[in-house]
Amino acid sequence: MSTTTDGRSSTSTSHGAIPAAQETPSPALSRAGIGLRAEHYRDVIEQRPPVGWLEVHSENYFGNGGRPLHYLDRIRTDYPVSLHGVGLSLGSTDPLSDAHLNKLKSLVQRCEPVLISEHLAWGSVAGRHFNDLLPLPYRAEELRHMVERVSQVQDWLQRPILIENLSSYLEYDTSDIPEWEFLAELARRSGCGILLDINNVYVSARNHGFDAQEYLRGIPPPLVGEIHLAGHTVKTFTDGELLIDTHDQRVTAAVWSLYRDATRRFVNVPVLIEWDAQLPALEVLVDEARRAQMILSDTYADVA
């Protein structure tokens, strides 16, 4: 396996001066993290659960004050925090929103996140937002567009971001680049890192009939700065089924298995459990993080 030729090249990009996200790991990130939701603020403060770090949705902290920012300020004294954006609509052909970027930058300055991420997706056009993660066609046109947009964000924030692969329910016939190649090339050209969501790889592989292992093999390990794990739901129709990325339950056995494979290829990458709907007790998220941690320990004990 070669990781020297397919990794980040040293040739300068438009962001040659910005260090790669994955070159400055925090020791706390070597332990699995969990997504933080408002329902768990008090439990996290009182119980100090044994997780390495916490990730929040950036837009949930776009208000000017009050409870969300109060708890974020408090909790980040105990844990490193990462910001995960869902609303920037990077792939849209509308201009990026200055208001959105300004709020994101203020939040970055306020909470000094260890990682900042967004999605390989679009969610708005002609001023109208769908507040969803919609798939792009994968062609040279979209690649140029995404490189430009990610570069704008990184210039604005003056630091690299991570871009996450999404769960998708359709592919465009016009696409002529596999998603993994598109993502890797986006990272190489823009200088961003990759947030590899293992559940999303699995969900999209099942929905579109590609090989999840081929996806993993197509992602150069040095580009991956974070891994996500989450639960999904199988939705059955009269003419077939789709896997839906619901983030409302435990990680499935198949996704744990794929994660185990991923840990052998993507070494020492921070891993995070996401759970956004039908939120269970904090202990359940912590238990999922513990499970991810055990897989990490197994893999690296084997390697050692």
Partner: protein, 256 residues
């Protein structure tokens, strides 16, 4: 092969506005039809925005029931599409929307409930502010007090409703356990919605106090605001009202 721009416009029109744009032709069927795959995105859109509205309008949701609320939300999404990737901004026009929504005529107070809940939402996320330090007042010459412009707490809103909305809100809280009677003819409320630390609170105001704060909020000076309050409530004691609103942090700053 459409440009990305055209594809996104077609996607929006077909998936969210139900206009046939031939998008199915560009969707790889692969087992399920293109229409089926697009339907997932349409459903996801309505359900996630309805969920956002449910979070901001829990009492309205409770009053009309889940099924009706989902129908209301779907209609609202079409009439007032989201304009931001930040969902906090979504739902501002719900009060005016429910005021004219067919089949809500039987619940004429639904607008007032929505006004209160949107105020709560705004106040919940508004900026923090330290209390006013009254020891700064002696720096102002007493003969210029009338020109002072007092500033209200950024996390405060004033509202006046035809129906007793505070009572309606209270009896529809999940943890409420008292009598459920609401006398809709008991008159409306004048209210301050305010967040001093973390919790949003509702405080009923008398006629003079409401007029006074409203005048200050709208930028009138102290003398004009006092006159406005006295005009609607002849016994309005502006001195004690000022001290009271400062101590309750409704007023948090002043400038000349």
């Amino acid at each position: 092969m459409p440009t990305l721009r055209d594809l996104q416009l077609d996607f929006a029109a077909q998936v969210y506005d139900n206009e046939a744009r031939g998008l199915d032709a560009h969707v790889h069927a692969n087992g399920l039809t293109g229409a089926r795959r697009l339907q997932v995105y349409r459903n996801n859109h309505i359900s996630s925005l309805a969920e956002a509205l449910r979070a901001v309008y829990p009492v309205l949701h409770r009053l009309v029931g889940d099924e009706f609320f989902t129908h209301l939300a779907a209609s609202y999404v079409n009439a007032h599409p989201s304009r931001s990737g930040d969902l906090h901004e979504f739902g501002a026009q719900v009060p005016e929307f429910v005021a004219t929504f067919p089949r809500l005529a039987a619940l004429p107070y639904s607008r007032d409930v929505a006004v209160l809940e949107w105020s709560y939402h705004e106040v919940f996320h508004a900026a923090d502010h330290v209390p006013l330090d009254l020891t700064r007042l002696p720096s102002v010459a007493p003969q210029r007090y009338g020109e002072l412009k007092f500033k209200l707490h950024p996390a405060s809103r004033l509202l006046e409703t035809p129906y007793p909305v505070l009572r309606l809100w209270q009896v529809n809280q999940p943890d409420y356990c008292g009598g459920l009677q609401v006398d809709l003819r008991s008159g409306g409320d004048r209210m301050l919605v305010i967040r001093r630390a973390l919790d949003v609170e509702f405080e009923l105001l008398d006629r003079g106090g409401y007029a006074f704060l409203l005048a200050l909020r709208d930028g009138m000076d102290f003398a004009t605001a006092s006159d406005t309050a006295s005009a609607v409530q002849p016994d309005f004691d502006v001195g004690s009202a000022l001290r009271d609103f400062v101590s309750r942090q409704a007023i948090v700053d002043f400038a000349l």
